[in-house]
Amino acid sequence: MKPEQFDLAIIGAGPAGMAAALEARRQRLRTVVLDEQFQPGGQIWRNVEAVTTRRPQDLFLLGPDYADGYPIAQRFRTCGADYRPGARVWQIEIMPTARQAGAGASMAMPSSEALDTGPDDDPQVHVERRRTGADRHVCYTDARGAHRIATRHVLIATGAFERPMPVPGWTLPGVLTCGAAQVMLKTAGMVPRTPLVLAGAGPLVLLVAAQLLRAGVKPAAVIETVPAANYLRALARIGPALLAPGYISKGLSMIGALRRAGVPRFIGALDLRLEGAGRVESVLFRHRGTEHRLRAETVLLHQGVVPNASLWQSLGVDQTWDAVQCCFRPGVDAWGNSSVAGLLVAGDSAGIGGAEAALCAGELAALSIAWQQRRIGTEERDRRAKTVRRALRAHWSARPFLDRLYRPPQAMRVPPGDDTIVCRCEEVRAGELRELAARAVPGPNQMKAFSRCGMGPCQGRLCGLTVTELIAQTQRRDPGEVGYYRVRPPIVPVTVGEMAALQSGDER
């Protein structure tokens, strides 16, 4: 049996994915959207449909940015895309081209046209304007088992997750990310038990603290690990940020709310550690020379988000190190086309920009795909893109400021203590990794082979960036030159039985 054929497969139903679907459907592309959650919205608008329809009183707690997700989700539901929730994509395969295999004739119309690249073309990026076959296969698993679909283009819109925050004790029960607390609030209407401490850096720390305050939970403290130097560096970029829609004023109002409620903020905290027997009991840190110890039953950590990159990394997409955001980003052109033909990346999984920027990026990606599949001409594509790009620039204008203000200090990205766990899954500590790095291990893959760091179920998601930067720091190399783990599919677990039953995809 031939796999189902599509013009476009979108992976992720967050802001970028939904916006891309809306535009793709406007162009009548046969579109499938695969998302691992059970409602659209991604993480930022997680569960927004259920909250809006069944617990509207919680919309006040979560704030207007969250409520904005509902109308978009509704339009997404009715746009005619084949939306498949509960679908976890574990591999994208670029098949030998339909032309070479002599198969897939219904989709492929081999053309003798020369390669036709558009404006903004980047020699490393492959954009081909011809009728390609549906020779990109996407393998995913849902409750019924493993499936394979075939598509002409793939858009990866897998968003972001919170970067690791390797402090002593971060693996203790009761320690979660700020995002996890939001998931509890959005999906279950639940809040952390007190005493509650939030720690880290980034707008989400303030946002979650403010949301919980509104819900009647008063944090014992907000510990900010942003060093004073960041404020100075960020101020140089504050100009454009002041013009950006509301970013600065939102931040200031959250800070004001915390102050009015009497929540202590410790800015520039150092030496953060978590202690407890079997679960977290205390938070320790140093602030202005004084040692503090706070009791805590729940601790929420956050120091920014990083692209959820596994899927595009598993395809060998060219990547570069972003020295400000301290993460790897795919090499994409102004539309999101990557170095792998037929594969685009949009939204936070291409580089952190936030929900509004992701909406724009999704729309641009779909415009490019529609153009590549010859549904619209160059003039119309560029005319439509103009307004989107203007909005995108506005949403990006606060990023240089925010990125520099909240850039985690090196000691929070590479733990100085030898006992601190770096690889949570395999329990590998910083000291062992530093010792290997000091003895000239060439990179993260050899490090992984020697120490098992990165071989656990999370496949290096929570240790990869730490390991890259640890090697870079120890060996005095650039993180981009050090590189990252070789990411291989399946990028989420699939059972041997499901794999055995997977149709091979080349039957006719």
């Binding site: 691992e36 059970f38 993480q43 259920a50 919680d58 976890r88 997750f161 919170e162 693996t171 203790l172 029960p173 009761g174 320690v175 979660l176 990310t177 995002g179 996890a180 998931v183 509890m184 999906t187 279950a188 209407g189 639940m190 809040v191 952390p192 038990r193 819900a215 009647g216 079997g278 679960r279 039953e297 729940t298 959820n308 949570r424 899954c425 395999e426 329990e427 656990g456 179920p457 999370c458 998601r461 929570l462 989420v492 677990p493």
Partner: protein, 104 residues
């Protein structure tokens, strides 16, 4: 670790965690039940350290539990259902393995 904002919830499901009944709202993940109870998900194979849900979005793989006899399931990615049997995992799972043979 977590508590509900409301005292009364209209629609709920009841599952068991390590044999004890646990009631949570409909349409939440199994990890929500763990956090509501303050339970751990597992102890690690290497050092026996306790682990509990951390990211709640399927990225960290800390919340691995046995659900209805199948081990190593991410609690945060499985929806809680009435009658589900959730068990914390300690050491390596045996799951549905055959019994060990007698070695010569």
């Amino acid at each position: 670790m977590f508590r509900s904002l409301r005292d009364e919830i209209l629609l709920t499901v009841t599952l068991t965690v390590d044999g004890e009944p646990c009631t949570v709202p409909v349409d939440v993940s199994v990890a929500v039940a763990l956090l509501q109870r303050g339970s751990i998900a597992r102890t690690t194979a290497r050092s026996g350290s306790a682990r509990a849900p951390y990211c709640m979005m399927g990225v960290c793989f800390e919340c691995l539990v046995e659900i209805d006899g199948v081990s190593n399931r991410q609690a945060c990615m499985v929806m809680a259902e009435d009658g589900m049997a959730v068990r914390s995992q300690h050491g390596l799972p045996a799951g549905l393995l055959p019994a060990p043979a007698e070695l010569p």
